[in-house]
Every structure is written in structure tokens, then in C-alpha cells.
């Protein structure tokens, strides 16, 4: 089983105040901590579990800066075999289609059975890159996968739909799967494992190395224009419900009903 797992280095915006840069098009990330995107971490674990069960090879693929190497080394400490990191500032990274094209460029021409990535990214929440990647590679895909079983030349996956509904589908390999959190429990990468992973192959490449024309993945090629980012105004519309518990409950139910929430 030859697997590619695509991962992204993202900021944790939950602990520090989010501020915009003066250009209005980017976020000041100087006070954030960075780590592997949550859902991608589950994709890494799933790829390693498959390798442990069936053998094979797992290649990590990522677009990002040098500082993200620590995340890649951690994935290799967990069991991934080698990695490619694309570093090129000509990529229109705000557009999932452009990102997918670059990732596809890192895979095309090589044999693969599975490509896994997180179903969404904690920074831009597009939930589109994995699906676009399948299109670029011209293979089957399933999104929001929370369980998978490999069979001969096929994969049976459980997809998480809305309202607690699950869909079970079978796909011919090769295929792209976008992995939902909770499919497994990602392991810890001990420091000794990270040190040993230093010996594994990590290739840093540019668009030119991948044979991708920068004009096809840059801002001009993208049909998505990032106009502005802004922080929504904080609205204060709190209503305090007074009265005895029964009255409060009745008023609350009435408000929820009128608001179409019941």
C-alpha cells in the first residue's frame, strides 16, 4: 500500500487575540503557536495504522515554510517514511484549487493507492482542498471519512453526514480520502523518535522542481480574489428572562419557538 498524506501547518487561534495586518488581507500570526492541522493529524495516524497493518510506504506532502519541518519530522517519527515540502511564495494559497494543483504536482508520476488529508483546515475552513486534489489527480474520492476498511483493490469508507447520519461507500483504489477527526487517536511523537526521523528523507522543492508552471497556480490563475478580512463587530443582544422557574421556561420556549429554533 503506497500512501500520500497531505498536511498543513496552521496557527492555533484559540488562545491569542486575532489581529489583522495593516494590509487587511492577512492575519498577524506573531503571537500564535503553530502545529499540524487537527484533522491532518488524524490522517497521519490513519496512514501509519494502515502501514502497520499491511506494510507499505507513507509519504508526507506539505506546502509551507521551513519552520513547519518540525511538524513533518513528527509525522515521520510516528511512522511516515519520507516527505516532500513545497516552499514557494508564488502559490495562491488562499485558493484551495491552486493548493490542490500544487499537491497533485507532488504526487503525479508516482505510484499511489491512497491519498489522505484532513477534511478541513483550522485556519481557512474551506473543506475543499482534498476534493479538489482528487479532481486534479483524476481519481475517486470520499470526504468526511470516520472509518475505513481496505479490501482487495477497494476501500470501504464511512462518511459522516449531517444530523448524525452515516453513509457507507465503496471506492476503487486509487482514491483520495478526507479524514474526519475522531477516526482514531493520534499517537505522541517522542523526542527520540523525532531524532531518529532526522535520518529520513525530507525533500524541499519549488514549483520549478515539480515542473509546475507558476502561472497556473498563482494569483492570476486563481478565480478567487481575497478582498478583505475583518473582525465581526461584537454585538450585545442579551436578554435576561425574569420570573419564577416555570415562567422563565415558558418565556424561553416561546422565544426559541418564535425564532424558529424549536
Amino acid at each position: 500500500m503506497k500512501t500520500f498524506v497531505c498536511i498543513k501547518y496552521v496557527p492555533d487561534t484559540s488562545e491569542a487575540e486575532v489581529k489583522l495586518n495593516p494590509d487587511g488581507l492577512s492575519v498577524d500570526d506573531s503571537r500564535f503557536s503553530f502545529d499540524i492541522n487537527d484533522a491532518d493529524n488524524y490522517a497521519v495516524e490513519e496512514s501509519v495504522l494502515i502501514k502497520e497493518a499491511q506494510g507499505g510506504e507513507v509519504t508526507v506532502l506539505s506546502i509551507g515554510p521551513k519552520k513547519s519541518d518540525v511538524m513533518i519530522r513528527m509525522a515521520m517519527a510516528k511512522g511516515c517514511d519520507k516527505a516532500t515540502r513545497v516552499e514557494d511564495d508564488r502559490i495562491a494559497t488562499h485558493d484551495p484549487l491552486m493548493v490542490a494543483r500544487v499537491l497533485a504536482g507532488g504526487i503525479k508520476g508516482q505510484e499511489f493507492d491512497l491519498v489522505m488529508t484532513g477534511c478541513m483546515a483550522n485556519d481557512d475552513w474551506h473543506m475543499a482542498t482534498g476534493v479538489a486534489l482528487a479532481e486534479e489527480l483524476g481519481v475517486n474520492h470520499a470526504s468526511m471519512v470516520n472509518k475505513l476498511e481496505l479490501q482487495d483493490g477497494k476501500v470501504k469508507v464511512h462518511r459522516e453526514l449531517e444530523g448524525g447520519l452515516l453513509e457507507v461507500v465503496e471506492l476503487d483504489l486509487p482514491a483520495v480520502l478526507t479524514i474526519q477527526t475522531g477516526i482514531n487517536e493520534p499517537r505522541y511523537a517522542p523526542i527520540r523518535g523525532i531524532r531518529q526521523a532526522q535520518k529520513k528523507e525530507l525533500n524541499v522543492v519549488s514549483l520549478d522542481d515539480l515542473g509546475i508552471d507558476p502561472a497556473e497556480v498563482g494569483t492570476d490563475a486563481s478565480q478567487v480574489v481575497l478582498e478583505k478580512l475583518y473582525i465581526p463587530e461584537v454585538e450585545s443582544a442579551a436578554e435576561f428572562i425574569e420570573g419564577e422557574p416555570e415562567e422563565k421556561a415558558e418565556k424561553l420556549a416561546s422565544i426559541l419557538h418564535k425564532g424558529g429554533l424549536l
Partner: protein, 380 residues
């Protein structure tokens, strides 16, 4: 530092053959009242190298709070708790740890603290304060190391903030480390991430030795004991802040406003008392406050009851549903008639206060870190 596990057997590393199986370790272990942990048995069973993996899979290895009662009581000078830590190392190196432990350890590696906070926000606790920041080119008598928990947890930040105000007022030669300051590794060591801890000792020794410090003053007993025990190559001696404050007190540099007519019982933190051998300084500070009546627990000093905050227990919940030791402690304080439970450790504040609230005693009792109390009594 030696990569000891790679060149020694488990038996050699923990001197298991030195054990006479007297059982004083288990007899003194405070955790045995609520968990199925028998440390003597582990020391006995770990002789058999073939059994180590099976032992490492037992849930109770995570019940140990690293309070060191077993080490204090061992007549052969062994540290039975470290056998449990060695077994934890086997699990950690397999990667299959609790997610809370995984995230704490990873945060130490990536951000220099176990609380999953950004390194860039480490000095936020200093906001609006006039703090002297250390410079490697300028000698300083007292170089302060702020524990990760104190730096990031709003509940205990006052320990550092009050310290700054006190130092400024008393005219002390001091400086605090800049944001490159990293976790001392106390909890990394006890959680069993041996490789990460070795790296921390190496990196932090190099970092701290860049400064020309008369001494390093720690705010948490966990950092204090860790530096003293596991950092043999530090240039500067390490003290706990209560030692510095007693010096200032004796030199007449600390005075308190008004009186505090309260009954205060002092809880000896394991890392300050049993491990750091500091029992008197915190009591002297409390006794210096006019009006204070200092009470004593029956279980005090080297027999002090552990609050269960150490040994990585902030990230591992015990399977036991029996009464927490911190609840027992609060009940003991209540029976003594104490108004205030004073401690000198951020972890003890968090565990004891949780239990006090859980017991519904918020109206009647307070849990405070000594620096919090002194901050309220400082003449500003």
C-alpha cells in the same frame, strides 16, 4: 547526560537489587488510600525484564504523584517512584499515551510550556508592571525564573506580579528572564518523556548559563527541585523565593500594613518540603504577619499529605472515584478551624482550591499562595 536506558538494564538503572522489600515505600505512599498502587510490588516485579511491558500497561503506574514520600522513607536511599517513571517512559516512547499527556508534552517541545500556550505570550503576565528584564551582559544578583503555570494561568499569575511589586519596593537587585525562558521539565520528567527531558536539561542549562546571575530564584517548588536535582551544570545556585524573602525580612526590608487576624494553616508542598528540604521559611513569612495565628496540620513537614498535583497528574485523571487527597486536606484544615490554607506552590493552590470549592467551603475558607497573601499586605 547519559542515555542511561540504552546502556543499562532496568534493574541496574533503578538499583532494584538494592531493595530489601521492607515495604516502607508502600506503607508511606499517600496514594494507596485511593488507588490500587503498590510501589513495593512494582520494584519487586521489575526485576524480571520479561515482565516490564506487562507492568508498563498497568493503569496504576499513572497514579503516582511523584511526591517522593517513598524516597524519603526508603532506608536504602532508593527512589521507588522512579521505577514507575521508567515504566511510563516505555509507554511514552511507544507514543500511545493519553491525549492530554500527548498534548502537554508536544507543547513543551514546540512552545516551551506544557499548557499549549504560545511562547510569544509567555510574558503577558507582566502587563502594566515595571519589570526589569535580564540581559546576559549585565550581572544580576537575583535572576528570576517564572514557572509555566504561573506565567500562563490567570489564577496564579499574582504570584509573579506581586513578586515584582515587592522587589521594586524593597530595592532588590533582580531581573526576570525574557520570553526565551522554557519549561524546567519537572512534569516532563515525571511523565516519563526521558528524551525530551534530557534535551530540556541541555538547552536550559546553556540558556541559563548565559546570564551572570548571583543565584536563580524560582517561584515554583517544582522548578526549584528540578533545577537542583537534575541540572548539575548550572553555574548559579538555585533558591526558592521564600528563602529570598526571609533574607529580606531579616534585613528589615519587608514590612506589612495593618493586621491579619486570621488562623492560617500552612500546607507543605511535596516539592518544597520532602524534595527541597524547605520547611521553615514559609512558616517564618506567615508568622511575620501581625495578627496571624499559625496552625499546623497533624501531617506536616516530611509527612505532609500530597495534594496530587505533581507527577504529571495535572494531565492524568486517576481512575479512582474515592476522595481526593486534596479534599482530605481541606477537611483537615476545616477541623483545625483554619480560615486560610496557605501554600507555596501553584499546583497546590489549584488542587486544594478546587477541592475547597467542591466541598462548598468558599464562604468560610480561602486557599492562597503565600505571595498572594503578602501582595495584599504590602505597603504600596
Amino acid at each position: 547526560m547519559l542515555m542511561s536506558s540504552e546502556i543499562q538494564t532496568f534493574t541496574e538503572k533503578y538499583d532494584l537489587l538494592g531493595c530489601i522489600q521492607c515495604g516502607r515505600c508502600t506503607g508511606g505512599c499517600p496514594v494507596t488510600v485511593r488507588a490500587n498502587l503498590n510501589v513495593r510490588q512494582f520494584v519487586n516485579d521489575a526485576y524480571d525484564e520479561d515482565k516490564l511491558e506487562e507492568l508498563a500497561r498497568l493503569a496504576e503506574i499513572w497514579d503516582c504523584t511523584a511526591c517522593h514520600t517513598c524516597a524519603v522513607r526508603c532506608p536504602k536511599g532508593l527512589k521507588p517512584l522512579e521505577v514507575l517513571i521508567g515504566l511510563r517512559t516505555m509507554i511514552v516512547e511507544s507514543g500511545k499515551v493519553e491525549p492530554t499527556v500527548r498534548d502537554a508534552l508536544q507543547s513543551v517541545l514546540l512552545e516551551g510550556n506544557p499548557w499549549e500556550k504560545s511562547r510569544a505570550t509567555r510574558l503577558d503576565w507582566m502587563e502594566d508592571l515595571d519589570v526589569k528584564i535580564a540581559d546576559p551582559d549585565e550581572p544580576v544578583e537575583n535572576l528570576f525564573f517564572v514557572c509555566c503555570t504561573i506565567a500562563y494561568d490567570p489564577r496564579v499569575r499574582a504570584i509573579a506580579r506581586n513578586m515584582v511589586e515587592l522587589l521594586n519596593k524593597a530595592g532588590v537587585d533582580y531581573a526576570f528572564l525574557p520570553e526565551d525562558e522554557s519549561c524546567c521539565g519537572s512534569e516532563v520528567f515525571t511523565l516519563g518523556e526521558e528524551g525530551l527531558f534530557e534535551m530540556q536539561v541541555e538547552d536550559s542549562t546553556e540558556f541559563l548559563n548565559e546570564y551572570q546571575a548571583g543565584r536563580i530564584v524560582t517561584l515554583s517548588p517544582h522548578c526549584f527541585t528540578t533545577y537542583k536535582t537534575h541540572y548539575p551544570d548550572l553555574k548559579s545556585p538555585v533558591i526558592h523565593y521564600t528563602q529570598l524573602l526571609v533574607e529580606l525580612l531579616n534585613n528589615g526590608k519587608l514590612t506589612w500594613k495593618g493586621e491579619l487576624p486570621k488562623k492560617i494553616v500552612y500546607h507543605d508542598p511535596c516539592y518544597l518540603g520532602k524534595q527541597g528540604n524547605i520547611y521553615d521559611e514559609p512558616r517564618e513569612l506567615l508568622k511575620s504577619i501581625p495578627g496571624v495565628e499559625l496552625l499546623e496540620f497533624e501531617r506536616r513537614r516530611e509527612r505532609s499529605l500530597c495534594c496530587e498535583g505533581g507527577g504529571g497528574k495535572m494531565w492524568v485523571e486517576s481512575e479512582s472515584k474515592k476522595e481526593r487527597l486534596s479534599e482530605t486536606r481541606i477537611k483537615d484544615a476545616r477541623a483545625l478551624g483554619a480560615d486560610v490554607v496557605a501554600v507555596a506552590c501553584p499546583f497546590c493552590v489549584l488542587t486544594l482550591e478546587d477541592s475547597m470549592k467542591g466541598l462548598g467551603l468558599e464562604e468560610e475558607m480561602r486557599v492562597v499562595e503565600i505571595m498572594e497573601l503578602l501582595g495584599e499586605l504590602m505597603e504600596k
